[in-house]
Amino acid sequence: MIDALSNRSGWVGPWTLLKKELLRFWRVSFQTVAAPVITALLYLLIFSHVLDKHVQVYDGVAYTEFLIPGLIMMSVLQNAFANSSSSLIQSKVMGNIVFVLLTPLTHLQFFMAFLIAAVIRGLVVGLCIYLVAMWFVDLTVANPWMIIAFGLLGSALLGTFGIIAGIWADRFDQMAAFQNFIIMPLSFLSGVFYSIHSLPPFWQKISHLNPFFYMIDGFRYGFFGKGDVSPVLSLLIVGASFLVLALITLKMLKSGYKLRS
């Protein structure tokens, strides 16, 4: 009977959890992929219609061009957060989180599965917006590695934040508060729709405290080769923020905070 221990492979467990998390959002991709793509395109349509002829943020860059990378990144971040947070809160409220808690999966494997699923959801949404936007605007790419680096790190950061929110929240309204009072203001006030150089000095300073600002700015740098701050600084800040949140999440998972009492 003890051979129940020998015939298992180390990768199958975490891979299965990742596969389940991917299938979970893919089964409802109309809501989890199509809807955010439509929302982003509506923003694009309205803002470019209103502002394209009136606002120029960088020399030689039309407003619509300026807007697209910001919109893509904002959607990547919001959807990475939404994936891990809503999966966890649903499993907790439904009670089916117990099926995972009863397994030999380690807290690191649990973290990695939810993290990678969140990154993939964020990037899939971002890629869809990019592909559709390409029909309207010819986007330049100055530094693809920066785009990839910020896309990965940004979605990982928000995916991790979503895990924390999902573990912490006990009810759907608490999760909605997280969305509406933290994620939405931070993403709208991060310079998606404007360059922070157009702000009064005080608000520029405040914007520098917003981690979303560095993710948007760095991601945009990848397209135009210019940004409000140095992309290396942004990369360091985003990378460090991810590490800190990842360590907090792993500590929460290891202690069983709110999941095991």
Partner: protein, 313 residues
Amino acid sequence: MNHPAIHIQGVHKNFGALHALNGIDLAIEQGEFFALLGPNGAGKSTLINILAGLIAPTAGSISVMGFDVQKQYQQARQLLGVVPQELVFDPFFNVREMLRFQAGYFGLGRENDAWVDEVLEGLGLADKAHTNMRKLSGGMKRRALIAQALAHKPPVIVLDEPTAGVDVELRQMLWEFIKKLNRDGHTIILTTHYLEEAETLCSRVGMMKQGKVVALDSTANLLNKFSGKHLRLTLGDVRLPHDVERLVRHAENGIYTFALTDMIQIEFVLSSLRASGIKVIDMQLNEADLEDVFLSLVGNVAVEQPLMANHHE
């Protein structure tokens, strides 16, 4: 070395001021069919949650086939299949997908599919394999929940109230399948409110009360110790003589149940009733069952007479 399937040593659990478990020591050997009984609040579910790693004990330890559930949780959980008491499910997937996922979490891939089919068959879920969990009836959800706990073919299986609110058909089917698993060498631990289930299925019984194990013996021995008999007399609305009244265990609608420890007492009861001029309308004599053992150890959980409020003005 042959470790016990489950070894519980000095387990305490406090929830704030509440002492849910007060020092549990219990060893369940491999291959046993064991029943854990006790009234609500006795601590059964707390104990199972500690065993499953869902909560941590305040003190003490539990091991599964020699592996500590906290320090060697991966091995311990690999060997353990726990059916949760709550009827939970994942609405995104169908039955077969859930079972494959569940086995996958335990590191098992497609090679396990034959076992998944066996579980589906054994629990009467085969024709529901492609039905979404959300669309299953309550009884079917319960079967799926049991199937999920068995998906990784655990040598030690814990069924926490598996038949609560479940139709007769499933109960029979479930027990046939679980008995087969037990014959194949799986250790089964069962908590149930249906004492007759424990009596017919389990070779050994542990009874809990207020966070302690108050009785632990083979089912046969427990029943022998309480080898009393039940005398059920239909008497109608009568006033019983005092010396007879003290033997009454239960009275309802003129039907009196007397708990007897000796056959001699039958003669005593009947002659005493005759002397008081009480007519016996009907009479039944029953063997004691696990419920009597349970009641005598755990206390009478029957409804007590409410005190009538007296108004003195």
